[in-house]
């Protein structure tokens, strides 16, 4: 039996629930980038992008509206927004390295039970790209990972020890996957939420690291 997993937008929506009013947030490539338009109503978020823009708007779908000089770090055009500003790359990463980001949401290849993050070199590739992910993972106040719970070939991505080279040790606070929400705590990985229809045991079966089932385990909550 194959249980239904959450789609990318739902994963991103759950991540965006973590954004509190007034926070400064950076979104990594892939699923994280979707959070941009999923901020809960009534919260004002300043999005930071590595390529030197703060406070930009939603992603633009129509190329006729696109401005080649207003793109996010993935190269997608975005809308301008009142209060937006631009900085150069050194200042953009002064913001990152200086600890001025409240949250970064990143993709991952592996996360360990200690919160180690590996997301820069794919298995089988001789070369990887650090991009800005390492700076972000080391220095944002809170690192949230959004990813599929298992790799394309079904291998667990939440592991005891990362086998891929690390992006940052002990960096991740919260893991949001297509089947669960897991908090990295001093005691280990706390399973807090599961996708509809999933049990803790079923999530554990897809997870190499041992999960501590939270006493208040609940179904993934996208509303409150």
């Amino acid at each position: 039996m194959t249980k239904e997993r959450l789609d990318e937008v739902t994963i991103a929506m759950r991540a965006a629930k973590e954004f509190q009013d007034g926070m400064v947030v950076n979104l990594g490539m892939g699923i994280p980038m979707l959070c941009n338009t999923l901020v809960p109503e009534g919260r004002e978020i300043i999005f930071h992008s590595e390529n030197g823009v703060l406070g930009f708007g939603a992603t633009i779908e129509n190329p006729a509206e696109a401005d080649i000089d207003l793109l996010n770090a993935q190269g997608q055009p975005v809308y301008p927004k009142p209060g937006m500003c631009f900085v150069d790359h050194a200042e953009s990463f002064a913001i990152v390295r200086g600890g001025h980001l409240d949250i970064t949401v990143l993709g991952a290849l592996q996360v360990s039970e200690k919160g180690d993050l590996a997301n820069w070199r794919m298995p089988g590739k001789a070369v990887g790209s650090l991009g800005g992910g390492m700076d972000l993972a080391f220095r944002a106040k809170k690192v949230i990972v959004c990813m599929t719970h298992t790799s394309k070939d079904g291998q667990p991505k939440i592991v005891r020890e990362c086998t891929l080279p690390l992006t940052a040790p002990r960096a991740v606070s919260l893991i949001i996957t297509d089947v669960a929400v897991i908090e990295v705590t001093a005691d280990g990985l706390a399973l807090k939420e599961v996708a509809p229809g999933w049990t803790a045991e079923e999530v554990q079966a897809l997870t190499e690291a041992r999960l501590l089932v939270s006493p208040d385990l609940k179904e993934i909550d996208l509303v409150t």
């Binding site: 390529n51 190329p63 631009f86 150069d88 650090l130 390492m134």
Partner: protein, 246 residues
């Protein structure tokens, strides 16, 4: 009289020499790449170059595919050329890059292929550290300690030291022989303003090399740029070349 305006891209890069370290501006997305300067450096035929910048670039044939694939989102400039063009012309022997390889298993960046062929050396750098190393060169800072990279491949071969209980890695200033930067407007002093996210590494690299060359959309009269809004003071810029409208 100060006049940094040079009539052609070829003239602007004529002194690029074999073995030069070239800081190439831009981020590797549609806007902000000094494409005409890159094309001019390709025409010099200078060999054994070290290129420093964000990405490993795209081979010219990949650029075509990229432009096509991205057309539903944003239109690339028709003359787009990045580090990949210098790789394609066999001019690159070393890359100091944050993003040398494609993040997907399909497709490869130009520098990635070169590396796999054993034809180049890679210095892999976190993006923020890369920007800071270039800024350090501009600012006369010889080296600096940052926490980013401790406990990862980045610390290999580097001094590691604790400050306030936090592990830090010693990183060196990265000064280029030439910075190729893309800006929006310039005046004859070389003062530069950028447009939006095309500021990025361009403004960081201006002043980070012995010679900084700017490729601009428009040249304006002295005094037309708002003194409060000039991003790169002219003293960081040696040559300015006007792009033709493409």
């Amino acid at each position: 009289m100060i006049n940094k305006i040079v009539p052609s891209f070829d003239e602007a890069v004529a002194d690029v020499f074999d073995g030069a370290v070239i800081l190439v501006g831009g981020f590797g997305i549609a806007g902000g790449t000094p494409s005409q300067l890159v094309r001019a450096v390709a025409r010099t035929g200078a060999k054994n170059l070290t290129v420093a910048g964000n990405t490993g670039g795209l081979l010219p044939q990949m650029v075509e595919m990229m432009i096509e694939r991205m057309a539903t989102l944003v239109q690339y400039p028709r003359d787009y050329a990045d580090i990949g063009m210098l790789v394609a012309s066999g001019q690159v022997s070393k890359g100091i890059l944050a993003f040398p390889a494609s993040p997907s298993t399909q497709g490869k960046m130009a520098f990635e292929m070169l590396l796999e062929q054993g034809k180049a050396e890679l210095e892999l750098v976190p993006q923020g550290t890369l920007a800071e190393r270039i800024r350090a060169a501009r600012a006369g800072v010889a080296a600096f300690y940052v926490p980013v990279g401790c406990g990862t491949v980045v610390e290999e071969g580097k001094e590691v030291r604790e400050f306030n209980g936090e592990c830090c890695v010693l990183e060196r200033a990265l000064k280029g022989d030439f910075s190729l930067v893309r800006a929006h407007k310039a005046d004859r002093y070389g003062n530069l303003v950028y447009r939006g996210t095309s500021r990025t590494f361009n403004a960081t690299m201006a002043g980070g090399s012995t010679v900084t060359i700017a490729e601009v959309d428009e040249i304006v009269e002295l005094g037309e740029l708002d003194p409060e809004a000039i991003v790169t003071p002219g003293l960081y810029v040696d040559r300015v070349v006007l792009r033709e409208k493409v």
